[in-house]
């Protein structure tokens, strides 16, 4: 694996990072660097070890083995100082429902020991940035899911963190709220904040991340930019054939030669190829009679499928 010793400063550096809970290994000797100013992603299915890795970085989960450096320090020893420079957004809501939108920011800033005046100024800027100014005096409880998520992110930025960590930031949001959030995160990135996120959405990783690692079963199975990963691990186009009656009776010989490679799922056969239309013609010649078919460009989902032999939502 490429240990990426680039010239850019690594803000987070993990080597052999391992976490076990009893006999279960949640994170198995992973290596990665997060560089200053980049948008870095952990992509993988639920249970791959993404959240545990995030918790170790945030200094709220002591590692079992390996080394971990954040801003050059060990989170086991320098936890409070490191956490003072991190912003953390949890997967589940952690806002105080009994306080107003603005109060949530004001109170949280105090936990970092920031002066009230400075917090107040920053809170107003953040409410503006996340389009929450007109709800500043409202209670948190009636806000929509998308607004609550934006408030969570605004709150995590109250200490002007060097690194913002987002655990599954758009899970459970409707498409419009997702796009609003993506825009806000892009603006943040342009302003120089380093962002680390976990996601099990391919399109999210593709849209946002400069670089990402693919995690599966506690290990990192690939690393690179979304473009690199697709070029390395997937073909240009993908032909999807759908068989509602199941794919188990289709023989290997029938599938060979249609494209560069194929993956057989329960009701679908996914064929990686240079030209999807041509591959479809060959599939018909081989005697396949799919109920429906489509041709699309390769995505990270295909990379994941290729690397693990499973689809992400399985």
């Amino acid at each position: 694996m490429n240990l990426s010793t680039s010239n850019a400063t690594a803000l987070i550096r993990a080597r052999g990072l391992t976490k076990t809970f009893g006999s279960r290994t949640a994170v198995d000797a992973i290596n990665f660097d997060v560089r200053d100013g980049e948008f870095f992603g952990f992509l993988g299915p639920n249970g791959a070890g993404k959240t545990t890795t995030m918790r170790m970085i945030a200094g709220v989960s002591p590692r079992t083995a390996g080394t971990l450096e954040i801003f050059g320090s060990d989170p086991d020893k320098d936890g409070p100082r490191i956490r003072g420079q991190l912003g953390v957004v949890h997967q589940q809501e952690t806002l105080d429902q009994e306080l107003t939108v603005r109060e949530n920011l004001l109170i949280f800033g105090r936990f970092f020991g920031i002066e009230r005046k400075e917090i107040a100024e920053r809170a107003d800027q953040l409410l503006e940035l996340f389009q929450l100014s007109d709800r500043a005096k409202d209670q948190v409880e009636p806000l929509s899911g998308g607004m609550k998520r934006r408030l969570s992110i605004a709150r995590s930025l109250i200490n002007a963190p060097r690194v913002l960590m987002l655990d599954e930031p758009t899970t459970g949001l409707d498409p419009q709220a997702r796009h609003l959030l993506w825009d806000a995160l892009q603006r943040l990135k342009r302003s120089g904040t380093t962002i680390v996120l976990t996601t099990h959405y391919m399109d999210e990783a593709e849209q946002l991340c400069d670089r990402l690692v693919v995690m599966d079963q506690a290990k990192i199975v690939a690393e690179g930019s979304p473009r690199q990963l697709i070029e390395e691990h997937a073909s240009r186009e993908v032909l999807e054939l759908r068989f509602p009656e199941g794919t188990s009776r289709i023989s290997k010989e029938t599938l060979d030669g249609i494209g560069d490679r194929y993956e057989r799922l329960a009701e679908r056969v996914i064929i990686g190829c240079e030209n999807g239309e041509a591959a479809h013609a060959r599939a018909l010649e081989h005697g396949l009679t799919p109920e429906s078919w489509l041709v699309r460009r390769s995505s990270l989902e295909d990379v994941f499928l290729r690397l693990t032999g499973r689809s992400l939502d399985e």
């Binding site: 709220v60 020893k77 956490r83 952690t94 306080l99 105090r110 936990f111």
Partner: protein, 280 residues
Amino acid sequence: MSAAQIAPRRSRGLFSTIGAYLPHPTRWRHVVGYMVAVYRREWIGSVFSGFIEPLVVLAGLGIGLGVLVGDRAAEITGGVSYVTYIAPALMASQAMQFGAGEAAWPILGRIMWVRIYHAMVATPLKPTDIIVGAILFMGGKVAFAATFFAGVLLVAGIATSAGGALAMIGVSTLTGLAFAAPVTAFSVTQKTDQGFAIIFRLIITPLTFFSGTYFPIESLPSWAQLISWCTPLAHGVALARGLALGTEIPNAAAHVAVLAAWTIGGTVIASILFRRRMLK
């Protein structure tokens, strides 16, 4: 990288371990500040109940029971009326109920439902800072309620001096803390609120009856007396009653020491258990 190359995590030294459990000298203040901000929304309601509750308790139990006890009161009270005898004890008992209640649902709720503690441990705050701040705030809330109770007792002539009434606020606060701290230690280990029913039905409520509130502890069998003196309420009652009546309190320092021991012991255990729960 092969497994052999992975550096095992160095275990902490003793001092570093103890350091992890010690509160930061000042950061717990921000936790108190947070609790006060939440409380600001409901304090008017608690002022109202702060006045009403002691009046209801005194009228219902003191006057009602007092009539029932009648002339026999002097036998157990040493001369004062029954209402005068139980009123300061009820003040300590209210502090117990209040302290324990504040340490139950509000603590578990912030772990399980509101989940704000998960956000707080991701800041420079240590778990111990959160526990110390939360327990100190509970003490403040108990003191607030006790102030009303003491005021009512003073106006009613049950508390014989302003100084005594002031000291009773202190004693009630310490009694509240002596329950708030160990109940917090219990709360941080819970996954549902079902355990609270056991705590309140089997421990808190019975303690009211066996701590000298309504009748002297000396009328209990000696083994029961021993159990009573191991729990905080008996000590709070003994102190509050002596202060109200202006009588001499034997072993006053020992009573205070037991209350302080429950407070400090409970806070230490709560900090350890809370840290274990939050930092996995």
